[in-house]
Amino acid sequence: MQEMMKKKAIELLGSGAVARVLGWKKGEFDYDITPAVFESIEEIENEFIYNSLCSPNLSKYLVKESRKEGKTLIFLKPCDSYSLSQLITEHRVVRENVYAIGIECYGKTDADTIKEKGIKGITKITENDGVLNIETLYGNEKVPVYEVLRERCVNCKSKKHPVYDELIGEEGQAVDDCERFSEVDRIERMTPEERFAFFRGELSRCIRCNACRNVCPACTCEKCVFDNDASGIAQKAASDSFEENMFHIIRAFHVAGRCTDCGECSRVCPQNIPLHLLNRKFIKDINELYGNYQPGENIGNRSPLTDYTQNDAEPNIVYKRGGKDNA
């Protein structure tokens, strides 16, 4: 796969069809993969990487890159393709300046997930035929990728590419029996006290580093309300429980109906807060109240929050459902 992608990237860059390539390369550590913009064939030959550790969603980078001179080649996993499609819908990416190659994806992993398996002292990770060879200070271990998939990949919602110019590999389908809402469902069935305790436990760890916001392909505002002194709610430090709640509620609300559930927010959170749960709660509510809606599925779709029907549920539906006390 990596070689096919490299070949294609070199061919397009060499012919001048594209001016730059969005892909992945090694980060600080071998196993720490980072998004990268390649502008020369040499860079691609030496640094371009694609393997099961290439988690980062590249689509957001197009907000800037697609406004530059010349076309940008981007490699899109299905998740990234949904994000790009939503960004095109919102006019955030100039479609004509993008050459999108869809790539098939069987799920991604990263060092954090591997560490959760009890593997410590990782020095290097290589991959061969779906099996990770993990070199650690204490010796080598071989682990199949499917055993260490990230939660979002275990609960993969779709292997389809809503937008692409060309595909490498086979086009997949939406996953019908995806169980991504089971955790939201579990929390909904708690009592309000339990839910409050659960989220305080999670959100109180927030250090307001803004990593979730910065990585989120739906958070592409030119200037975030939280950074804008004139907005009246600009605050940067997480110094209080309210602040943590406020930031995450408003952020989730602003991306509601637009969030494609790519799971990047939770992936990058240094405090391992399961932020995707807030987004999934909105997605689950939208699906249940207004009919299934997958942002990014079709370019030009109307978000449920900019739409209505005359017979929508009244907000008191919230009082009537969910929670142990009402079950």
């Binding site: 406004r67 006019h91 804008n228």
Partner: protein, 663 residues
């Protein structure tokens, strides 16, 4: 820092009896920015207003808070007062301490405390008020009516009567619309042509009315008072200024096999034609799909016989640009296509017809000269079945969910006319319900049943079977008798549902006028503003807004004209300054705001910005203040906070929240 004056009104004892007004004035004196705080018995009186005006001048106030009755009562009064003292009228806020305090609370202490808090909230808000000026825009004193049916004709005539110029754009070669095809009209049974054609002639002769026939609206720009419209004049290959309408060409044209749409294809016309004798304008049109000259360059008969030299085979579509102050939509309706209703054998048998086809068959100018004959064998039918609600009130996805409204009445009319003219013909009507609200409507239906002996059977028809002998077997259930019927008929008439004209949807997009899921235009308010679209300057006339019969259409058309005249009578339009505005530096150009705007007031353009020394092109929203009505839907849809609302800004509302919660 604002210099704020606070004026607490006693409203006689209305406020002063339960609110310690002196304490309120005293407490508010120490709020930041307040330079004068006083009370008076009746602030809205001459003397009270003088007091405010003098205080503004003496203290060089920049903002005013009046603690009094509801702003819905006297906001306008006090705005004028502060304006008279040289302040911007929007530098005023009202704390409602009558309806929200003195009238609903009995405890003086509690009421006084609440009055002070509401006063603080108003002071907090006024600190953030900015002077606002209502924009003015001139009104072009000319109206456009899109659609030349009875609705458009009536609206145009009424507008012209008031002295304003009106243009009618009609896509067909003649105005008149569906009503021209009708035979008689219920409930009075006068002939449609007799009452309609004089109105058509009035349109043609009125020097205020200009008719663009065989034309379509192709582009609309601008906004209320100032629309810029491009009209496409389709090539009719006949010079309108030369053609005298003599009709010789339509007799000599050798291409005789063109289905005649005026008679719904029940007979044929020529390739060059005038739709019917009373057409307005009476000008021939060449049907390019059938004309041999246009298709192969061989013929030219019409050109040879035309003494006026009006034929022009080289004519092309042309475009006219015109400015209008108001646009009326009168695009009307059509019966639905019946291809999904095969159970009624519409496509299999020529003797299964629609009600509109029956109108033509019965009309003296129709294909049979007014004698009712079966289309298949031209024989007189002896038993006729009418099937109601074909595609109306359907939730099976094939038809329309709504009631088409006119079918019950026209079917009663058809049944009655047939029974009167051909007493030997039996008439059966299969219905779900008979709906006849309307002046003299139920009496009309009862006459059909009681005097004319029309057989009404409650029950739906399951199937119509064409038999080898040319008859049609109608299989139906009679719900009242609980029996199944197999009725042998000679003619079956289907009351097809009506739907908005297909041209309505693209037109709505051009006009940014909203539509419902059935493609009917929506009103600004379903009860109180039924002839206006939510988009300012767009008005609705006739069936484009919902199914209507002729009396209702004409009333609505005149109501619509009254609204248009009201607009055109103004020289300028003064806007509401409390409108949304977009901060271009914050705008992402994501279109969220545009999607929730009910008025189409938001548009986007690419603009260049200097960011960090580099020029960057970005897509940004801008609000047309002449169109925006100030609801604020966009401000919440906007994630970046680029959209804000004058007079109710994010920071103003949050300042009120803060003031209320800080006690």
């Amino acid at each position: 820092m604002q210099r704020i004056g606070v004026f607490v009104c006693h409203c006689g004892t209305n406020i002063a009896a339960t609110v310690d007004v002196k304490a309120v004035a005293e407490a508010l004196k120490y709020e930041p920015g307040v330079v004068v705080s006083t009370e008076y018995q009746y602030m809205c009186s001459e003397a009270g207003q003088e007091l405010i005006k003098n205080a503004i001048k003496e203290n060089a106030l920049t903002g005013v808070v009046v603690c009094s009755c509801s702003p819905r009562m006297h906001e306008a009064t006090f705005r004028k007062t502060v304006a008279a003292a040289g302040l911007n009228p929007y530098m005023l806020e009202i704390a409602n301490i009558r309806e929200q305090v003195s009238w609903i609370h009995k405890n003086i202490e509690e009421a006084t405390e609440k009055a002070i808090i509401l006063g603080r909230a108003a002071i907090a808000k006024v600190h953030l008020n900015a002077p606002l000026t209502a924009g003015e825009s001139p009104v072009v004193k000319r109206a456009l009516v899109i659609g030349g049916g009875i609705a458009g004709i009536q609206t145009a005539l009424d507008i012209a009567e008031a002295g304003f110029e009106v243009d009618i754009v009609e896509k067909n070669p003649t105005i008149g619309g569906k009503m021209t095809q009708l035979d008689k009209t219920f409930p009075t049974l006068d002939c449609a042509a007799c009452i309609l054609t004089p109105k058509m002639v009035d349109c043609a002769q009125n020097d205020k009315i200009k008719i663009y026939s065989y034309s379509e609206v192709s582009e609309v720009k601008g906004f209320v008072g100032n629309f810029d419209v491009t009209i496409k004049r389709k090539a009719r290959y006949v010079d309108e200024n030369k053609c005298t309408g003599c009709g010789l060409c339509t007799e000599k044209c050798p291409q005789k096999k063109v289905p005649n749409e005026f008679n719904l294809g029940l007979d044929n016309r020529r390739a060059i034609y005038i739709p019917f004798a009373q057409a307005v304008p009476k000008i021939a049109t060449i049907d390019a799909d059938y004309c041999t000259m246009l298709k192969s360059g061989k013929c030219g008969v019409c050109s040879k016989v035309c003494t006026a030299g009006a034929i022009d085979y080289k004519q092309e579509d042309s475009f006219v640009n015109e400015k209008y102050g108001a646009i009326v939509v009168a695009t009307g309706f059509n019966p639905i296509k019946l291809d999904k209703y095969d159970e009624f054998a519409y496509s299999q048998s020529a003797d299964v017809i629609t009600s509109l086809e029956l109108e033509r068959l019965m009309n003296a100018a129709g294909p049979n000269g007014g004698t009712l004959l079966r289309p298949s064998d031209k024989k007189h039918p002896h038993r006729i079945a009418f099937i109601q609600c074909v595609g109306s009130r359907c939730d099976d996805g094939k038809g329309k969910s709504y009631c088409s409204k006119i079918c019950c009445m026209y079917t009663a009319k058809h049944a009655m006319l047939i029974r009167e003219k051909y007493p030997d013909t039996e008439v059966y009507v299969f219905y779900i319900d008979v709906r006849t609200p309307g002046k003299n409507f139920d009496e009309f239906y009862r006459r059909a049943v009681e005097e004319y002996g029309v057989n009404y059977i409650k029950g739906m028809v399951g199937k119509v079977l064409p038999e080898p002998d040319g008859t049609l077997t109608v299989r139906a259930s009679d719900l009242l008798n609980g029996t199944q019927l197999n009725l042998s008929c000679d003619l079956v008439v289907l009351a097809a549902a009506i739907e908005p004209d297909k041209s309505a949807r693209p037109l709505a997009t051009m006009l940014t006028a909203s539509m419902d899921t059935n493609d009917f235009f929506t009103e600004a308010h379903p009860k109180l503003r039924p002839v206006e679209s939510p988009t300012a300057g767009i008005f609705l006339s006739g069936a484009c807004q919902g199914p209507k019969d002729i009396p209702e259409t004409v009333s609505q058309a005149s109501a619509c004209a009254a609204k248009v005249i009201g607009l055109l009578a103004k020289n300028t339009l003064k806007g509401n300054p409390c409108v949304a505005h977009s901060d271009e530096l914050l705008c992402n150009g994501c279109s969220s705001c545009e999607k929730v705007c009910p008025y189409g007031a938001i548009s986007y353009s690419d603009k260049e910005f200097r960011i960090n020394g580099k020029m960057v092109t970005r897509r940004v929203a801008s609000v047309n203040p002449a169109v925006c009505q100030g609801c604020g839907a966009c401000t919440v849809a906007c994630p970046s906070g680029a959209m804000d609302l004058n007079g109710f800004s994010n920071s103003q509302i949050m300042a009120e929240v803060d003031a209320i919660c800080k006690w």
